[in-house]
Each structure stands twice: as structure tokens, then as C-alpha cells.
């Protein structure tokens, strides 16, 4: 079986993901491009004994060196030399989409154009002669409707033909006007003569990139051959000076003009017919008139966020309860069938409670992701960036920061890790850094269980409202901190906001499910591995060292004393075997025994390593209202925020003796001494702002390019969180809450 690789490329929103899914189905693998953390999706398509490997390149508008995505795409094409690039072109948006196509052709990679969204184009009265377009461009063109899988077979036939007999292809050389053309020719010869970077790139392309002052190629060229590079740069400078003097333009502007000119000249040769006026108001524009309206827009936006909450919490309630009782039942089962001892303790308190605490929230997270995917796929997310840019700029951020904040949990759910990565689309290093450092304040999917637990325990009657309030507070905190950072440690100018507002589309059910599943699975995987490990480590921390024999003996003596004081009742309990109803005196005796057990368990936990850490911190943390149990949980939360829940679960079930009591953790907390709504509020605030989990910290280090920033975020955030929690708790106490 022969294998050939094809790269899937195209503008954002051209339907790339849809086509990729249609072609590869479930045979996908998500990884990273070497060296950078731009996501790389690979899939396989098997047909007639031939295997085609498809690699999804990042969606880009261009192939410059300005963004990591564009460089990653370029590097992939050069290093992996795919048989061809399948370039997804939005037929309803042909002119701009072909701009990227031209750049692939200039690079010299074989291109197959998948003319997608043919249905949308037809709806808009745009007719396209695919044959003619193919002839004029000199590449195969296949019409597709990715959403319905149309054109898939033809596309693959063309791909197979290319593998089979290597369809001729010639790189495209466009004329950029006399001045540039002449200089390019001269440079190309010099480059070819010296073999500058020609092992990887076409000589003319290298010349073109010099002309466009492409930072990446310039750096490579300078390193490979400093003299020639200087000579080339001098030539470019001469042309640039001339163009500046005669046309008041930069060479790169002239090059872009000619690319668009070339596209226009092709389209004008009867390739494209437009029946309606191009500026006609489509449904999408009419929707925008309302959704981005000066007055209605922001209100609708708030309503949408609020609706997402209602949707998520209302619909996930039932499955969350199911999972909760399932794990409760599982724990009870283990306790009934496994003899008391270390192993049972490990299984129940370490494994079942730990995993249950995390997995119990999967439905919640799934519903949230479903909602977020809907907003993304429908195009509404871009409108949020548009409407909020002015606000974000005030805080030294960028409208596109919205995406990172939302992915991190700005609406609800999400995760700071992809959020930090989403900042790659931000071009300004300063706005990007400020975004990276503040997105961990958002309510990620891992903090949600913590909030959900506390809200269920203490504010059950106003669940949605409190969660909404939590969201607003985290936004306010993040923005204010961003402003603080931008005016102190990362000062500087703002960068451009050039963004497409894609037409509104009704998302497909399949697309939504795939998105939702990918993200939920990411969460589960994290829960299944990291969390299980940590849960066990924490169980060990909480179980060892055990109480000294003498102390245990004391408790045993107390129990014996209680039993000996009422021998008749003790006998009665033994005989009853838990089946028949007990008399009041027997119940009283049982209560006394349980009290002793609970005291012993609590003492044991305090005596353990975790207990000692928690107790040591208590003198400080009590200003915020946290006891040693909460401290243990918060320390664990540094590993991953959802561990706060599982640790609290473990801490309380270890301290809890009655095996019949399988009520949820929320009930336990609500009933626990030392807990009141103010304590919960203080803990919510602390959880919101304190150190990001270690995975995020690693990401921050990588994305910000330095461990300094990672360390900064740990120390700064924790200090901030503690200050805020203390203020909340002390102020609340003063006011009598």
C-alpha cells in the first residue's frame, strides 16, 4: 500500500475542518507542529488500496512570517514535501481566498483547489466556471460542498491522479511591475548561483521574500551567507527607495497589489458571474443589524451569555446527579465487599472519590462546550470580539483577546491551556503577554466543579445567578490586572485589529458534536491520568504517617469504656445486625461510638503529612477563613484545579466514619462546622485568582518564552488571591455574615 501525504490548507472559515472530517471520519490524530504548539491534525483516507494521509494546516489568510501559524504551514510544506496542497477556497469569497492560493503557487508546491461553499455561492447568485478557473490558474479545481460531502470523491480522484502519474505543475511567477521584476530576476540569479537556501526553497521565492522583507527568510539568509544577504538587502533597499520616491509605496504593497491584480484579471475572463449586486444585504447582514446594533447588541450579548448558563446548568443537572449517585454507589459497594484496611481506603478515598469528583462534572462541561461550539461555529464569537474590542483596548488588550479569554472559560468552562495557546493569533507581543498572564483568572472547566460544589452547598437557591456573578468578577479581575500589567511590567503601543466577520451559519449537528467531544475528551483524559495520579499521591499524603499505636490504643480504650458502660445495649445492637429498628438507648450508644471514630479519623488526618502542611498554613489562612482541610485541597489544586474538589471529597470522607452516609460532598460541606456562606465566598474568590495549575504554568513559560513569567504568575496570582480572599472574609465578618 503506497502512502502519500496531502496538506489541507485554506482561509479560516473556508470549511477546512468540515472537509477534513468528511474525508477522514474518525481516523484522526491531533498533535503539534515540531517546535511550536500550533495544533496539527492528521487523518488517513483509505481508498482502493491506496492510503492518503491528510494533514490539516492552520487556517491562514497569507503566508507571511508574522504569525506562528503561517510559519508552521510554510515549514510543513518545505520539510514534509506533501504531494500537493489541497487548498480550500470559499467560492462565495473567491477573490480574497485566491490570495493564499497564489502564495502556495509562488512557493512552488503543487496545488489542488477545492472550491468549497458552492451552495452558498449559488444562493448569492455567484456562478463560477470551475473548468475555466482551473485552466487560467493552471491547477486542478474541484467544486465541493463540504457540509454535504459533495465533491469529496472527485477531489480524491484528482489527488490520486497526482500521486499516480505526477500531474505536471509549474510554479507561478507573477509580474510585479518592471522595477520589482528586474530586481527579482537579478536577485534570483545571484541566489541560484550561490545556492542560498535553495536546498529548501525556490530561488525566486527566496528573492520574493527578501523583497517583502520576510523576517524568517532574512534571518535564515543572513546566517547562511552574510555577504550575499547584505547584497540582496541592498538591492531591495534600492528598489524600495525608488518606489517610495515615485509611487510613495513600499515594495510589499506593490507586490500585494499585483497579486490582487492578477486574481482580478483571471476572474474577469468570464470565470465568475455575479447575478445580484455584491453589496446586497444578505440575511447575515440583516441579522448583524440587530445583533451588533449599538443598543440591542450589548444587551443581546449579555443575554446570550446568560442563556448559555441557563442551558448548561439546567440540562446538565440530571446527568450530574446520576453520575454522583453512581460513584456514591460504587464507593458503598467497595466498602461493603472489601475488608477494612489500607487497600479499601486507597480504592474508596483515593480512586473512586477522586475520579468521581472529576468525572461527575463531565456532563456540565459537555453542555458548556456544546454551547461554546455553537457560538463559535455560528460566527457569533467574532461579533463578540468586534463589539468588545473598544473595551479591551482600554485595558491594554486586543479584541481578539476575547477568544483566549472565552476559550479559557470567559463564558463558562474551557481551559486556560488552550486559552494560552489561542493567544497565538495575537500579533503584538505585549497584548499577547498581558492576555497570557490574565486568562488563567477565567473560570476554566476545572474551577467550575469547585464553584459548582460550593454554590450547591451554600447558595443552592440562586445557582445560576451566583455562577453568573462569579463570571463577572473573574472578568473584572482579569481586565484590571491586565491594565495593571500593561501600565507597569509590559508597557507599549496597541496593534492592528483586522478581522473577518464571517457570515452567520447554522452550525451542523455533526460539527458541534465533534467539537464538543474533542474538548470533553481532552478534559476526561486529563482527569483520567493526571488527576488519578495526584489523587493517589494526595491520598498517601493524607494517610501517612498513621497515628502512633499509643494514640490509637487510647481511642480503642474510649470505645471499650463506652461499650462497657452499657453492656446490655451493646449486646442488643450486635443481635439486631442493623436490620431491625433500634431503641433510643442503642442509637445513643451508636452516636457516641461514631463520635469517637470521627475524632480519631480527624486526628489521623491532622497527623498525616498533608495535615501538617495544612495546619502549618492555618495560622495564615485563617485570615481568609480557610481551615487546614481547605489548605490541603488548595495545595492540591495547584496540580490541577479540579483536585480541589476531589481532595475535599477525600479529606471529608476520610474524616467521616459512617459508611451509610453516602450523601454528596455538597451536603457534607454544608453541614461541616466552620463552613458558612462567607467561607465559601472567600474560597471561591481565592480559587478564581490563585496560581494557575502547573500545566498552565508550563504553557505560560513556553508561550511567554521565559520561566520568569511563569514564576511571576504563580507568585503574583497567589498573593493577589490571598489578599482578595482576606478582604472578602474580614469585611464580610465585620458586616456580620
Amino acid at each position: 500500500m503506497s502512502e502519500a501525504t496531502f496538506a489541507l490548507a485554506g482561509n479560516p472559515n473556508s470549511g477546512k475542518t468540515t472537509l477534513f472530517n468528511a474525508l477522514t471520519g474518525a481516523r484522526q490524530h491531533v498533535g503539534n507542529y515540531p517546535g511550536v504548539t500550533v495544533e496539527k491534525k492528521e487523518g488517513v483516507y483509505v481508498h482502493d488500496g491506496r492510503q492518503l494521509k491528510l494533514v490539516d494546516l492552520p487556517g491562514t489568510y497569507s503566508l507571511t512570517a508574522y504569525s506562528l501559524e503561517e510559519v508552521a504551514a510554510r515549514e510543513f510544506l518545505v520539510n514534509e514535501k506533501p504531494a500537493a496542497v489541497i487548498d480550500i477556497v470559499d467560492a462565495a469569497n473567491l477573490e480574497r481566498n485566491l490570495y493564499l492560493t497564489l502564495q502556495f503557487m509562488e512557493m512552488g508546491v503543487p496545488v489542488i483547489v477545492a472550491l468549497n461553499m458552492m451552495d452558498v455561492a449559488a444562493q448569492r447568485g455567484i456562478t463560477i466556471d470551475t473548468m475555466k478557473l482551473g485552466q487560467l490558474l493552471g491547477v486542478p479545481v474541484v467544486a465541493t460542498v463540504a457540509r454535504r460531502g459533495e465533491g469529496k470523491t472527485e477531489l480524491l480522484q484528482v489527488a490520486e491522479r497526482i500521486v499516480g502519474d505526477g500531474v505536471r505543475h509549474h510554479p507561478l511567477d507573477i509580474s510585479y511591475g518592471e522595477d520589482i521584476d528586474l530586481a527579482l530576476m537579478e536577485m534570483e540569479q545571484a541566489i541560484r548561483g550561490a545556492g542560498l537556501l535553495t536546498d529548501r526553497y525556490r530561488a525566486r521565492w527566496v528573492a520574493l521574500k527578501y523583497m517583502e522583507t520576510d523576517e524568517q527568510i532574512l534571518a535564515l539568509g543572513r546566517k547562511a551567507n552574510p555577504e550575499l544577504s547584505a547584497q540582496l538587502e541592498a538591492t531591495v533597499q534600492k528598489v524600495a527607495d525608488h518606489l517610495r520616491a515615485t509611487l510613495d509605496l513600499y515594495p510589499e504593497a506593490v507586490i500585494a497589489d499585483h497579486r490582487y491584480g492578477y486574481i482580478r484579471s483571471i476572474l474577469q475572463q468570464g470565470v465568475m458571474g455575479v447575478r445580484h449586486d455584491r453589496d446586497r444585504l444578505y440575511l447575515s447582514d440583516r441579522i448583524d443589524k440587530v445583533l451588533t446594533n449599538r443598543f440591542a447588541g450589548p444587551l443581546i450579548m449579555l443575554a446570550v451569555i446568560w442563556g448559555l448558563y441557563q442551558f448548561t446548568f439546567t440540562y446538565s443537572e440530571v446527568p450530574v446527579a446520576w453520575l454522583g449517585s453512581f460513584f456514591g454507589w460504587l464507593g458503598g459497594l467497595a466498602e461493603a465487599f472489601i475488608p477494612e484496611g489500607l487497600f479499601r481506603s486507597l480504592l474508596v478515598s483515593g480512586v473512586i472519590d477522586g475520579i468521581g469528583g472529576v468525572l461527575g462534572f463531565v456532563p456540565l462541561i459537555m453542555f458548556m462546550f456544546l454551547g461554546i461550539s455553537f457560538l463559535e461555529d455560528s460566527g457569533y464569537m467574532a461579533r463578540m470580539a468586534y463589539m468588545l474590542d473598544r473595551v479591551f483596548r482600554v485595558f491594554g488588550l486586543h479584541g481578539s483577546s476575547v477568544m483566549a479569554f472565552i476559550v479559557s472559560g470567559g463564558i463558562a468552562g474551557g481551559c486556560a491551556v488552550p486559552g494560552i495557546m489561542a493567544t497565538r493569533t495575537l500579533k503584538s507581543p505585549r497584548e499577547r503577554l498581558a492576555t497570557i498572564l490574565t486568562v488563567p483568572f477565567m473560570n476554566c472547566g476545572a474551577k467550575l466543579p469547585v464553584f459548582a460544589l460550593l454554590v450547591a452547598a451554600f447558595f443552592a437557591s440562586h445557582e445560576a445567578m451566583v455562577m453568573f456573578g462569579i463570571t463577572l468578577v473573574s472578568w473584572a479581575g482579569a481586565l484590571l490586572v491586565a491594565k495593571l500589567l500593561r501600565s507597569t511590567v509590559i508597557p507599549g503601543e496597541a496593534t492592528p485589529f483586522v478581522m473577518e466577520l464571517p457570515p452567520y451559519r447554522l452550525p451542523t449537528f455533526k460539527g458541534l458534536l465533534i467539537h464538543t467531544w474533542e474538548r470533553t475528551w481532552h478534559y476526561i483524559r486529563k482527569a483520567g491520568t493526571v488527576i488519578l495520579g495526584i489523587s493517589i499521591v494526595l491520598w498517601a499524603l493524607m494517610s501517612f504517617p498513621g497515628l502512633p499505636e499509643s494514640v490509637r490504643q487510647q481511642f480503642e480504650n474510649q470505645r471499650q469504656a463506652v461499650l462497657a458502660a452499657a453492656p446490655a445495649t451493646a449486646k442488643a445492637i450486635e443481635n439486631a445486625g442493623g436490620e431491625t429498628a433500634l431503641e433510643a438507648s442503642a442509637l445513643d450508644l451508636q452516636g457516641k461510638l461514631a463520635l469517637i471514630d470521627a475524632r480519631e479519623a480527624e486526628m489521623g488526618l491532622r497527623y498525616s503529612v498533608a495535615g501538617r502542611i495544612g495546619t502549618a498554613l492555618e495560622s495564615l489562612s485563617r485570615f481568609a477563613g480557610f481551615d487546614w482541610r481547605t489548605n490541603i485541597a488548595l495545595v492540591g489544586g495547584f496540580a490541577a484545579k479540579e483536585v480541589v474538589v476531589s481532595t475535599l471529597g477525600t479529606a471529608y470522607s476520610l474524616g467521616d466514619v459512617d459508611p451509610e452516609e453516602t450523601g454528596s460532598l455538597a451536603n457534607k460541606l454544608a453541614a461541616a462546622p466552620g463552613w458558612r456562606p462567607l467561607t465559601a465566598l472567600s474560597l471561591i474568590v481565592f480559587t478564581m485568582f490563585y496560581a494557575p495549575c502547573f500545566v498552565s504554568v508550563v504553557c505560560i513559560a513556553r508561550e511567554a518564552g521565559s520561566w520568569k513569567w511563569a514564576a511571576f504568575s504563580v507568585v503574583f496570582n497567589t498573593a493577589l488571591a490571598f489578599t482578595l480572599a482576606v478582604v472578602v472574609y474580614q469585611l464580610g465578618s465585620l458586616l456580620g455574615f
Partner: protein
């Protein structure tokens, strides 16, 4: 026929781009999205806080800030 800066354009006003003065990254991003001399544009509207501006070019909708619109000179009727 008058030349004005894009920032000065009214909602729903149409025109043809004549020059794009921006260089470097901003210039590149503006041009990548099809805002080049000769392109016909039409202002679609402005965000609730009057910035950024949304405009129609080549049949799709694009947004940019007023500060960026200041680099683009448009010929209007």
C-alpha cells in the same frame, strides 16, 4: 469625486480605496485581507462604542479600528 480618510466615512457610504499608507505588519495585515488600491468598499457600520468599523470588501465583512482606518485613503462620490 473626493479623497477622504476611511475614518471620516459615514455608515453605508461606498468608495474605492486609493492608497494604503501603512507599512510593516499593519500594512501587511490590511492588504492580506484585500484592502488594496482599487478595491471597492462600503461601510457596514460601527461597533457599539463607535470603534472598530465594519466594512464590506470583495463580498465579505471586515473589521478594523479607526486608528487603522486612518492609513487608508478612499475615493468617494
Amino acid at each position: 469625486m473626493t479623497l477622504i480618510m476611511m475614518r471620516q466615512m459615514q455608515d453605508n457610504q461606498a468608495g474605492i480605496i486609493r492608497t494604503v499608507k501603512a507599512s510593516g505588519e499593519m500594512g501587511r495585515r490590511i492588504r492580506d485581507m484585500g484592502l488594496v488600491p482599487g478595491a471597492e468598499i462600503k461601510i457596514r457600520g460601527r461597533a457599539p462604542l463607535y470603534d472598530p468599523v465594519a466594512l464590506r470588501v470583495m463580498g465579505f465583512t471586515l473589521t478594523l479600528r479607526n486608528d487603522e482606518a486612518d492609513f487608508i485613503e478612499v475615493e468617494v462620490q
